[in-house]
């Protein structure tokens, strides 16, 4: 699922295309479109301000999470809505999973969890 965010002129000017709700490095998001649109106020016929609307998807190398096999653009099986509520997270080894899926795995492994893909020691990418 694509996620649309509304950027006001100020945000667009000072923080180009940065998702305001979820602070991820911009390299991990893939912006597929940026459009400008004008909105009209309900009762008046006049145009109001221009708005910039960007849509983005996750920029992971895979399409699906290796743990739950659900789409990265969807959410993990315990969540209902994709996006900020069910984010992706990268390990130091650059493998991505749904945050909830990898947390479940990491918490079940003692003392040290390993990446389910490459078996390297799991560390969250800083």
């Amino acid at each position: 699922m694509k996620k649309f965010i509304l950027l006001n002129e100020e945000v667009l000017h000072f923080h180009p295309l940065f998702p305001p709700l979820f602070s991820l490095p911009i390299s991990q998001l893939f912006f597929s479109s940026l459009i400008f649109c004008k909105t009209k106020k309900k009762n008046e016929g006049q145009d109001s301000a221009w708005h910039a609307v960007a849509s983005w998807t996750w920029d992971a190398q895979d399409e699906t999470c290796g743990i739950c096999r659900m789409a990265f653009d969807g959410c993990c099986p315990d969540c209902k809505l994709p996006g900020d509520d069910c984010p992706l997270i990268w390990g130091a080894c650059n493998h991505a999973f749904h945050l909830h899926c990898i947390l479940k795995w990491v918490n079940s492994q003692t003392p040290q969890a390993h990446c389910p893909m490459c078996r390297r020691e799991w560390q969250f990418k800083g």
Binding site: I67, C68, M70, C76, P77, C101, K104, W105, S108, M117
Partner: protein, 183 residues
């Protein structure tokens, strides 16, 4: 027209049931994942899968392996799989239902396969386990044995091991232990 009324009645019925207890059990995350695993199965010709409890119980099933090479050529071996609701965070429980003379399978049917135990990780799936089991028959391994006698024979005298396997699969005794026919 009649059909439409029937549909409406059914909907009403469902809604009434929903007020009491939930009419349909929600699929657990484990079931959801297992469903994907099963729909993406890509088995070798030597392996088949069956659901003895029907399609309502996908969490318990059987896999039959008929090796087409190696010591166990011609035998038929049945494994039961039990999938936990927290799959894939826990490995499936796999048992061999066929009594077999094998260094890595004991006489109770416990299977020694690394990916079923210490090396399990949630990116593995049912397909990889079945390939792992098949591999046990083409390459039995005398290190890390569950049947130490069979392992010692395989290590010290492969010819004797081969004839022991043949005898066990045809239905007969190896030492004091009887093995039912499985060819």
């Amino acid at each position: 027209m009649i059909k439409l009324f029937k549909v409406k009645e059914k909907q009403k019925e469902l809604a009434e049931n929903a007020n009491g207890k939930p009419p349909v059990k929600k699929q657990s995350a484990g079931e959801l994942r297992l469903h994907k695993d099963i729909s993406e199965l890509n088995l070798p010709k030597t392996c088949t899968i069956a659901f003895p409890n029907g399609k309502d119980d996908l969490m318990n099933f059987e896999v039959t392996i008929r090796p087409d090479e190696g010591y166990y050529l011609g035998g038929t071996f049945v494994f039961s799989f039990q999938i936990s609701p927290i799959y894939p965070h826990e490995a499936p429980k796999v048992k061999c239902k066929t009594k077999v003379y094998h260094p890595n399978i004991d006489l109770e049917g416990n299977v020694c396969l690394n990916i079923l135990r210490e090396d399990w990780k949630p990116v593995l799936n049912i397909n990889t386990i079945i390939y792992g089991l098949y591999h046990l028959f083409t390459e039995p391994n005398h290190e890390d044995p569950l049947n130490p006698d069979a392992a010692a024979v395989l290590r010290d005298n492969p010819k004797l091991f081969e004839s022991n396997v043949r005898r066990a699969m045809a239905g007969g005794y190896v030492g004091q232990m009887f093995f039912p026919r499985c060819v």
